[in-house]
């Protein structure tokens, strides 16, 4: 672990809930992922220093904020963090401009530059004269991000900035968010319970469940890992596939994954376009022999890696073997089938099966 990295340890007991988190990473952009009630926001509040009852050790990108062993506990106001709460919490007694200027004192000499960058990146120049109550949901969220950014923070903490927005609005705010991520060089902590967002935004994912870290790693890998599977299953995202369009069509296109697996998707794509696809484990069919004359557009051979019985179903992890496909641990798929079907197919590690996926079951994530 490099000393420039981030370390977060947080312990807190409350009636009916315990937070016990230990995580380290070196990446700049981290997503904290988990279902509602898993302790994501509580974790943020300990990083912000807002929970005196919590026992925390926090080092953010090499800067110590709290370390009880050395008696170090920097108060919230001197942590230099740009917090974007889930509900934007804009100050209703101030105009948009006054909101954005609120934290300017902290930015010191850089205040003007930080403010201009915030206004430019989030395109809120036209909103500055407005009153907060006249803003739409998406505008509020952008102003909240600008306010955090204009305070010249050493790191940004964003708590589900898109969660309160409906889908079309999300699509409008998301580009600003990605721009923010790409144009800043400061560390970002980003809370989400949405796996699409987690994979789109994060360089590293810390997965929380019931107040504990269940996995840390690249978002793609951890959302895939065995420990996280029950979570991603609840979210319908057991399989996430990155691919690039190799054949374009008006109604369907063919994409190829990094390991050479070809899939037909029901979307008009441009040749060379990158896509990320989601596939539910229950939408993956298995056959003992190669089926023919099938409506499903995607059929390929795969090797069974392992089987796991859980909650009355069998989860089969598969490594695709189709033409040219190179089997790597990263290329796995998960199928959910009944125990009877698993027995009938004689599934055991190493066995070969045919995988059938309807094009319609491939959901585009990004």
């Amino acid at each position: 672990m490099s000393s420039a990295g981030t370390l977060i340890e947080a312990r807190l007991r409350r009636p009916g809930f315990a937070l016990d988190v230990e995580a380290t990473w070196d990446e700049r952009v981290a997503v904290v992922f988990g279902p509602s009630g898993s302790g994501k926001t509580t974790l943020f509040r300990t990083v912000l220093g807002l929970l005196p009852a919590a026992r925390a050790r926090t080092r953010l990108a090499g800067v110590w904020l709290e370390d009880p062993e050395r008696g170090l506990r920097i108060p919230t106001e001197r942590r230099g963090l740009g917090w974007v709460p889930q509900d934007p919490t804009l100050f209703p007694h101030l105009s948009v401009e006054q909101n954005v200027r609120f934290g300017a004192a902290r930015a010191g000499e850089d205040a003007e530059r930080a403010r201009r960058l915030a206004i430019e990146v989030l395109e809120i120049g036209d909103l500055l004269g407005r009153r907060v109550d006249g803003l739409s949901g998406g505008e509020r969220q952008r102003v909240a991000m600008a306010r955090a950014l204009a305070s010249g923070p050493r790191a940004l903490l964003m708590d589900e900035p898109l969660a309160a927005l409906d889908l079309p609005l999300r699509a409008r705010v998301l580009p600003y968010l990605l721009r923010l991520r790409d144009e800043l060089e400061i560390p970002i902590l980003y809370i989400t319970h949405d796996p699409d967002e987690a994979m789109l935004v994060g360089e590293v994912a810390v997965v929380l469940d019931a107040g504990r870290v269940v996995a840390t790693g690249s978002p793609r890998e951890v959302l895939w890992s065995r420990s996280v599977l029950p979570l991603s299953e609840a979210l319908g995202l057991e399989n996430v596939i990155d691919a690039r369009a190799v054949e374009a069509g008006d109604t369907e296109s063919t994409v190829e994954t990094a390991v050479g697996l070809r899939l037909v998707v029901p979307a008009p794509l441009k040749r060379g376009e990158s896509v990320r696809l989601g596939l539910r484990a229950q939408d993956v069919l298995l056959a003992g022999e190669r089926p023919n004359r099938l409506s499903a557009r995607n059929v390929f051979e795969a090797a069974v890696v392992d089987c796991e019985k859980r909650d009355g179903s069998v989860f089969v992890r598969l490594a695709p073997l189709s033409e040219g496909a190179r089997a790597t641990p990263d290329a796995r798929l998960v199928a959910k089938i009944t125990p009877a079907a698993a027995a009938e197919l004689g599934l055991r590690p190493g066995a070969s099966v045919y995988v059938i996926v309807k094009a319609q079951a491939l959901r585009r994530l990004a």
């Binding site: 919230t76 917090w83 919490t89 609120f102 955090a148």
Partner: protein, 225 residues
């Protein structure tokens, strides 16, 4: 009854009301904030003690003050040390008004602070403002309407204060005679027309205070929401 006399009684009343309200404002803000935001053992007891002057007969409050502030009272040495006599001066009237106004203003502050989502303060602190500055730039501006209303209550209560004031300040014409005391003493003396003139002055002050308050509240409402 001369115009000078009415003017002097009116200005004394205003002075008592304004001084009383101004003096209790800082402690009421602080206490109201603590009661709204913190929980601590004995909080209910503190709230009960704060409310006492509001629920006790004002004369009882006055007697308490007299015992406390009089020359032989626990605080009497303080006054004799500085050579100032408080009892039976307009200061005593202001102190009586402050004591009866204190629960009103504290309660108003407590309630308006309690209505403000602590998240606003947390965001303020995360943006680099210490607790004090967050209070003055976030909490107080957001609570200002309730606080102002509490000040208005305390002020108008001070204008009408009678029971406690008669005991600690007496009714000394030209020195401690406020409008309420003046009306009472004139009725006692059979000077009904004088009493009515002072009633009219009371009405004018109260009316003006309400007008100013309503105007301010309306303006602050449109500025915020």
């Amino acid at each position: 009854m001369s115009l000078d006399e009415v003017a002097s009684i009116t200005s004394l009343t205003l002075r008592v009301g304004l001084v009383a309200t101004a003096v209790i404002l800082p402690p009421c803000l602080a206490l109201g904030y603590v009661l709204a935001r913190r929980s601590f053992p004995g909080k209910s007891a503190v709230q009960a003690v704060v409310a006492l002057p509001m629920v006790l007969p004002p004369v009882a409050v006055g007697l308490g003050l007299l015992l406390l502030l009089g020359r032989r009272g626990p605080l009497g040495w303080l006054w004799s040390l500085s050579g100032v006599e408080v009892v039976f001066t307009w200061w005593a009237a202001a102190i009586a008004a402050a004591v009866v106004g204190f629960p009103l203003l504290t309660r108003a502050c407590e309630q308006s602070f309690a209505e403000i989502d602590p998240r606003f303060e947390e965001v303020g602190r995360s943006l680099g403002l210490g607790r004090m500055r967050t209070f003055f730039r976030v909490t107080l501006p957001l609570a200002r309407r309730g606080v102002f209303y509490g000040m208005l209550l305390a002020f108008t209560r001070a204008l009408g204060e009678f029971g406690a004031t008669t005991l600690v300040a007496g009714i000394i014409p030209g020195r401690t005679e406020t409008l309420a005391l003046g009306i009472y003493s004139r009725v006692q003396l059979g000077d009904d027309s004088g009493a009515l003139v002072l009633c009219a002055a009371s009405f004018a002050i109260a009316f003006a205070a309400m007008l100013v308050a309503e105007g301010w509240l309306r303006r602050s409402r449109t500025a915020v929401e």
